[in-house]
Each structure stands twice: as C-alpha cells, then as structure tokens.
Symmetry: C2
Amino acid sequence: MPAFLSLHSSRRKTSTVSGAGEERIIARARRLFSGGARPAPGVVRGIDDDAAVLAPAGRGWLELLAIDTIVEGTHFAPATPPGRIGRKALAVNISDIAAMGGIPMHAVVSLTLTGREPLAFVGRLMAGIAEMAGAHGVTVVGGDTVGGPALSITIALRGRVEPSRVCYRSGARPGDLVAVTGRLGGSFASGRHLDFMPRAAEARWLVSHAQPSSMMDLSDGLALDAQRMACASGVALHLDAAAIPVARGSSLDAALHEGEDFELLCCFPAGRISGRETGIFARKFSVTLSVIGEVRKGAPGVFIDGGKLTPRGFDHFGPEL
Amino acid sequence: MPAFLSLHSSRRKTSTVSGAGEERIIARARRLFSGGARPAPGVVRGIDDDAAVLAPAGRGWLELLAIDTIVEGTHFAPATPPGRIGRKALAVNISDIAAMGGIPMHAVVSLTLTGREPLAFVGRLMAGIAEMAGAHGVTVVGGDTVGGPALSITIALRGRVEPSRVCYRSGARPGDLVAVTGRLGGSFASGRHLDFMPRAAEARWLVSHAQPSSMMDLSDGLALDAQRMACASGVALHLDAAAIPVARGSSLDAALHEGEDFELLCCFPAGRISGRETGIFARKFSVTLSVIGEVRKGAPGVFIDGGKLTPRGFDHFGPEL
C-alpha cells in the first residue's frame, strides 16, 4: 500500500469507512450534493472530476475549483523536509487543474499544525508552497491556520480554462487511443511522490494540439484511476501490458496499483495522436507520451492483455491489501 | 481557552508555533506569498481578510474565495453528532464570505477520516453540510477524502460581491461608530459554536442599506479580532464595556476573549447607523445590532472604557492562558 500509515481495517459488524471504501463516500456525496436533476446555477460540472467547472455569467473562460489535503503519515513521512511537504501540497492541486486542461491561478491554504513545530519549519513549509506557486504562476491569496493532532495541509486552487479546451474524465469513446505521460510505479520508494512536477504545461499542450477526449491525473494508481475513467465514460479500456511505461527500478504491478504518480491519463480520438505528436511531445517536454491501449464498447471496466483488471489501487479507506 | 484541546506550550528554546502565535505565521505568509509590491493579476485583496477578493476580467462582480478547517478536539468534541459537525464546517466559511459583504455560491469539501467512522456517520456529516448549503443557496461542487489520525473537515467556499459593496477589515476611519451583531460569549458552553447561523442575510442587508466602512466576523474573540481590525485600518477602537452585548449566562470577560461567536463586527461612518437602522435590523432579523464604541485616531489598538485592552483571545498557537 502506498501509504506510510495503514488504516485500521474494522472487525466490527457496522459498516465503517475503512471497510466500505472511498467510492461509497463519493457516491453518497453525489446524491447529497447534486441538488436533484436540475444543475445548480453556474455549475457546469460538479462532483466526479479532478476539479469543479463553473461558468460565471458573461466571460470567455470557465472557472475551475479543486481541493486536496495531504496528511502526515498518509502522504508524507514524519521526517520529510518541510519544503518538500509544502511543494507537494500545492503540486497535487496543480495536477488536478492541469488534468482539466486548465491554467492554475489562485490558491488558499489551510494549515493544521500541532503547535510543536518550530516556526522555521512552518516558514520552510510555506516557502515550499511559494516556490511551487512561483513555478506555475499561482498566487496564494489567503488561508488559515488551526491546531490539531497532526500536521496536515489543505489547499484549494482556482483556475480557468477555455470552454473549447476543458477536458473531463467522461469523454472517452470507443475507438479512442489510451495514453499516459511519463513512467509509472515506485513513486513512494523513489521520493517522486514529493518531487514530481505537475504536468501543467504538458496538459495545456495536449488540449491545444491534440484535443484529448478524456483526461485525468493518476493519483490512486493506473488500475483504479482507469476504472474511474471507464465508469465516467461508460466504456471499456483495453490496455496492453507491454506498452505500460514502468519507472526504472519499479514493476508492472507497482505501475498499476501503487498510486501517487501524478502523470496524465488521456484518451484521444484515433488520428489525433500519432507518432508525430508523441515525438513532438517528448522533445518539447522531455517526457514520454505512451499509447497504452484503446477504448472499446462494453460494460465499463479495465482490461489488460484481454483479462479483466481488478480495480485495485490505493483506496484511503479500502481493506488492507 | 475556547478549545477542547489545549495545545502544549513548548519549553524548548527553539521558537515553536505554539510559543510564537498565529500572527507571526500570518506575517510570514504575507511576506512569502505577496509576490512583492506588484499585486498579482486578478487579485484585488489577498491574505489579511476573511476571504480573498478576485477580479476576473469582464464581469460586474468580484469573486471571493475563503477556506476554513475544523478539527476534532479543537473545534468540536469527539462525541459531537456528525450532522452538527458538518453544518459548522460550512457555516464558518459562509460567515467569512458574509463578512466581506458577499453571497456564498460554490463549495469544495475535503474530509480527513480515520477510517474507523461508520459509513452512516459520514453520511450524516455530509447531510449536515448539505443542509447548511441548502439554507444559504450554496452548491457543493467537489472535494476529496483522505485518511489521517483525526477527523477534520476543510471547506473552500467561492462567493461573489458587487465592487460597490465589498467590505474589508481595513476601512475603519476616525469618527466611525463600532457595532456588533447578536450577543457575545459562552459560545462553547452553550453549544452555539456548533449551531450558530452565519449572518449572511444580515451582512447583505448591512452592505446594501448602511454601508459599513469595515466588517469582519468574530471567530477568535472580540478583543483579538477588534485588534486585527484596528491594525488593518490603522486606527484605535474605543469600546464602551457597558454597551457590549453579553450572551445570557455569560460574562464580559467571555464576550471579549472566548471566541467562536461568529457575529459581525462592523464600523459605520457616523450618521449611517442610527437608532432607526438598528431598529429596522432588529425587527427584520430578530438579531440586535449594538453600537459598542467609536473609532479614533491613534496608534492601532483596542481600548475599553479608556484603558488599553490586551489583545488576548483565542490563538490556536498562543501560550495557554
């Protein structure tokens, strides 16, 4: 499991979060917050994607709003240098905005501190946020600090995207090709889960030059995230094991199930992503763009070399694997 | 101290968060995130107020963005019914948007769960958020769930406000009257810190009918929050002890220092808030609007009956009182 803290699995009969998994919580949130069949004013896309898409009146841009929390013991080890914690806290959010095809703009930061942190530690943590913000043109515009039992950072990030470029998880269609940026697996072991650079420029290039039909970032493992894309799009994703780009020193199993890769998973209508585009992409960003499969009709699911892939990945509340 | 969890005060020589206080963290954030003298594109007001104020191109409204975290043991006791936790998590954010004179619109929710919570508990927690959202026309548009050592909820809330109505902490001017809504003190003891209704409609009425020069919500105690307003405005606030509306069963000391009242503290140019306005306000909302002092020239600070008031209030990382 790609977590420093293993969540306790419950032995009680009561259905707990730990036993039931994250997906049931998301499903319940969807029912509670959707407000019925009628979409709320200004909401283009709510729960179910990397970020919310909002459409304020009278502008040429859609707005994006994402939120992510990282917690000591779950997303970083207690001894992690504070600057790396700070940069990760913002990077995971930038990755969400990028996955919608958007440009990140304004962040608000909520710090939960135990009170025992040296002030210099908090300063370096915030400097890590500021450095990541500077690298992506993000401005931190507010926040708060509260006391709690463990260090935790939540950032909400506002961005924007052109209506012609916004990219959902739900757009994959039979006949599309499935592709992934970079290399997967071993993110925790290598420290890449702290140091990854969110694929913001890469995602902007993709929505501008190759128009993916569907895109999301990989945070909980290719197997589980591809399953989410398959369900959102109502299609089957057929992956070719040999084509999956495994990070050096890692394994196919880790690439499929570990999580925290923060690469982009995309689908493209056939013809939009040929060797020419992947070549330009690789030269421009020094990052590979690998075609790893295709989209077919069928019950939503993920297949690898023709066999059904169990959507096992990092579930914060799933049973221990 | 208005917290269920007393933060440990540090005995080490190193300057810790606990020893140094929240204000120093805010000051450091201001330096790190302000981006120098030149304001970032689209940012009208960043760190230092209840919510950030953003000005996207080509619209008649300013945007607001606020974030707040509530943590088990700090903002609610472990045995608190989940519905009340959920409603508070959103109410504190609505209070921030209200304090800018704005209308809350879209929320994203990040839940940190231990994994041991029954699913029904999380359902009731989210139902509490949904109920508060419904009462204020807010739509929950996304979020995430992560595992951590204690239950904690962070909500980021987006709102809007007309440029003519936006209200900062920094607008108090010598000669203004100081006023407060409702009654202060005893919020934790009475359970009001969970059940308060954010003064959203009241704030909208005030910015529409009485145009406060300065406004903020009271979360850390009148003494400390008034000090923040005095510093932001560069003025002295002179309060009249006898005029401060103390909640039934509470005391002046509690009204000044306890926090979690979530009432509005406002200043008004003289003449804009007479007995006529306070009467209309009281009848319309069944909430008092009490004039409690006046703004004078002088070094920024808060005075009560002529004596300097130590800005003691709830500081998440201050020394134990």
